[in-house]
Symmetry: C2
Subunit: 337 residues, 2 copies
């Protein structure tokens, strides 16, 4: 399957990009420099660059605005807010996870230090809130609460993720809940916040959120599959990166909790205090597959996408909006391996 | 001058304490543990403890609710929000500043790690927003924006503070602006958010904010004076702690930029790569004093308090509310040395 960036994503980047730059311009110079670097608006010397992010979440937010029958541009504040919140979480997560690279550049905390990166994340979160509340009507306030709820679930998910690193008895159900917080909550918000912001009826907003939640789960499962079997050229990460980091990703936990011998062997391998060799990593990937972790995750992607489609159909959004939502869902769950 | 805790502070603790505990209870276990520890609601093993914080900002927020003629308890969500935001900033600042102790206990990041402490801060910030927006009327939304604006100024102030550490040409005016962000903005918010939350006329809200801003500046100046000349029993910090940390506090910058010989000597001493001995620290304190840094800061405390009093009088709040505001302002600017 080849992945072609859906048109809506390109349109969203053109509509939302300038608004994101304008929001960041409100910050004071020290904080702005870090935020602009992280967002790809500037390099580490402060020279302007063209942003590289995929604008997936803004595209979904604009579609959710269109779902109410409105012009996409009326959803721009909501789309900007979601993208800022997404980047708040990336800034903070990179520190927590000790990640050194993002989008082929050193992470913000590596360039500017932990303190300035924490602050820049805090600032993006507050800007997001403020953009939604500037429209002082009740809808802006509802949209802000929708974002708040997503951020609180995101925090809960990241909190579980950090706690899981120290545990060796994580169940698949706990892992799904964690992914629901870390990934699906913000995706659900992205797919509905534009509609909420424009005063959509609750049934529409909730249907879109349910669609987004399932798409988010499918996206996380895909990401986890690519973290083991993805080609470095596609993922931008070293091959088998998640196994190397001994990450308790969904296919891994499915294998570990399969009750099969290969699952037990995998558990021992990942728990060994020795550094893992390339041979170990290839063996680990094979064990995940033999214990059924890969097959389960691939089937679960399909289940989640089917559920997403069902939820979307029930909302009764116009066909063109539905087609674009579906195209983005397909795009972000494409596996190349 | 002896410092007696004003009655309003004790009353605020009783009214607001349970609401803070209830807000924290909304968090998932991993994140809740860190937040509860930081707030003094639990020890590092999760056993309940009685919180030790001074509840100054909640007391000011409840007074600002009373300034509108309302029962103090109607201001509780606003008071809780301000206290949560204050603690969000403490959690993150302790990481950025590398502080190991707070309120005579190890800081949250020392106990739980940087990641969980970042997350707990993020969570308190979101809880604060959500509490204000739960009242879905326009006032809650205005109060949330009032908090947002304070947080963005707080971030700007902390950003400058981090940047100042790497500079040796910081002006007194830059330093005052920084303190305006780091301390005065949230104090201004505390003194007005209860009124905003209850729909006070803008003139009253703005007058209270101006009062709070001046009190905040006076508070920061006092804190800086105590950071050099305060008794350890009073400050809970080692004597001359700010000089030891070579902090560019307001009296220090006033001395450095005095144009006097003692200011130049102080600059050389603080810039020396050698560790500072106790004799060096005593000498540095003397140089700050001889270069006029202490005298200036003490006079500026008085100026700011006088301005605060003028702003408060102009609001025309009832006499009892005015007296309590004034008592808290006096209390937090008392110098014992």
């Amino acid at each position: 399957m080849t992945a072609v960036i859906p048109e809506g994503v390109t349109v969203a980047r053109d509509l939302v990009g300038p608004a994101i730059a304008a929001a960041v311009d409100r910050l004071t110079p020290e904080v702005r420099a870090v935020a602009a670097y992280h967002l790809g608006l500037a390099d580490a010397e402060g020279r302007p660059t063209s942003p590289g992010g995929k604008a997936l979440r803004p595209a979904l937010a604009l579609l959710s605005a269109r779902a109410t029958g409105a012009e996409p541009k009326r959803g721009v504040p909501a789309a900007v807010a979601v993208e800022l919140v997404h980047n708040f979480s990336l800034l903070h997560d990179d520190i927590m996870d000790g990640d050194q690279e993002r989008r082929h550049r050193p992470t913000a905390w590596k360039v500017y230090g932990i303190g300035p990166a924490i602050l820049a994340g805090d600032a993006l979160l507050m800007l997001a809130q403020d953009l939604l509340l500037e429209d002082s009507g009740p809808h802006g306030s509802w949209a802000a609460r929708c974002v708040n709820a997503a951020v609180l679930r995101l925090i809960a998910g990241q909190g579980s993720d950090l706690a899981f690193e120290k545990r060796d008895d994580v169940t698949l159900s706990e892992c799904m809940t964690m992914a629901g917080g870390k990934t699906a909550a913000l995706m659900a918000c992205a797919c509905s916040v534009g509609a909420v912001y424009l005063g959509a009826p609750p049934a529409l907003a909730m249907g879109l959120a349910a669609f987004g939640s399932h798409v988010g789960m499918a996206f996380q499962l895909t990401d986890d599959l690519l973290g083991i079997w993805g080609e470095p050229e596609v993922t931008g990460k070293p091959v088998r990166a998640d196994l190397r980091a001994r990450k308790k990703s969904l296919p891994v936990v499915a294998a570990l909790t399969s009750g099969l011998g290969q699952g037990l062997e995998l558990g021992k391998l990942l728990a060994s205090p020795e550094p893992l060799t390339e041979d170990d990593l290839m063996h680990a990937a094979r064990l995940v597959e033999e214990a059924g972790g890969k097959r389960w995750a691939e089937a679960e992607v399909d289940n989640q996408l089917a559920e997403a489609g069902r939820c979307l159909a029930e909302t009764g959004v116009p066909d063109d909006v539905r087609a674009e939502f579906t195209a983005i869902a397909q795009f972000i769950t494409t596996r190349q391996y």
